[in-house]
Homo-oligomer: 236 residues x 2
Amino acid sequence: MTKDDSGTIPDTEPLAAAADLATALRELIEVSVTTTVPAGEVRAAAELVRQVTERLAAARRPASQLSALDDVRTGRRVFNPVTGVGSALAPPLVLRRSGDGVAGEAVLGVAYEGPPSYVHGGMSALLMDQVLGDTAAAAGVWGMTAHLELDYRGPLPVGEPLVFRGSVAESDGRKSLIVGTVALAAAPDQPLVEARGLFVTPRREKLEAYFGAITDGSGGEGPTSMASDATALGED
Amino acid sequence: MTKDDSGTIPDTEPLAAAADLATALRELIEVSVTTTVPAGEVRAAAELVRQVTERLAAARRPASQLSALDDVRTGRRVFNPVTGVGSALAPPLVLRRSGDGVAGEAVLGVAYEGPPSYVHGGMSALLMDQVLGDTAAAAGVWGMTAHLELDYRGPLPVGEPLVFRGSVAESDGRKSLIVGTVALAAAPDQPLVEARGLFVTPRREKLEAYFGAITDGSGGEGPTSMASDATALGED
């Protein structure tokens, strides 16, 4: 990794490599839940996967140390399980500023299925928590989720482009009420899921209690006052 | 696969092989978000993963066809992204009947992280949607999520055993209000997340509209009247 005066900047190649691995893993996960090859082939795949794990496990950061690829000041969290380009769990949902809120599109495959052929209802909740939190962060009022609620109007089909939106309904600086929707990209103004979230910026002493032990990517002092799981957002 | 008079019964080995692959993939995902090996090693891992994907992609079911390993009559969904033993996205959360509700434990690793060292708030929502839905199903009132809400009292640390619980608050046969909690396994009676969900059994015509095109594992007629994403639950 390189460093400059403004702090740790990830090399382009480590970030690209992490994204490449996550992309490959997402494809493997989707195939793993739909494959009909014989059990022996599945066992052989598991063995190969374990060999890959062993190679990557040769050097690891502890959970208390941020990835060197992250930058909490800009909100970049490469391994976030919703928006992280380096997370195999994440679709990933790439969010951008849109109007006075944020928006993003994603296609969720069979791996994200709840009832047959529909996205798991909890997945909408997972993704919307991130969308609403990033909406708060984009408005400069980063906080942690205090309350989240969702109304489900209709099921979301797997394999079809979906659009996720968030906007600030109210904010007093420390507490923000954020609203958002999920809809088919083909019918973006007919929400199938509606969400509301209350986000609260922890007070200084809580931030210290929650994140005081976190270190940055080089193992040095952590970013207690600016902990965030928001993603750096581009413009629409 | 073998068949008997009661329908399609998955062989033990295909189910065990699917679970083995998912277990291996979960370990790889956790290592992939914490590895600090050089970018070249990460690229090599991605290439190996693509080779595994290619082998498993040799034969696949369409999204409209249930896995031959599933049995919707007993509620078994092997690839469910919360409870499925065959899902690499799932921790998996293994739920059992407990008292008049359900309970289960899981440890969520760094791959499930939102704020540094804590579980993503949306993950609690994802998991609790499943817990509440399975609680309804275990009580014989399977339904789809109509409303879900969560209050967050404190953050859930990654890497520590968590306990998830659900119980029926009210039910009129078609609509059920289910409540539940997430707590540290070490302090199970101090909820850090409280959840409430309203689950509604779709009427016959909606079931037909939602699931009429689904076929069973052998490509035959689908289980329209008994679609479920609940998991078969053992006793406590």
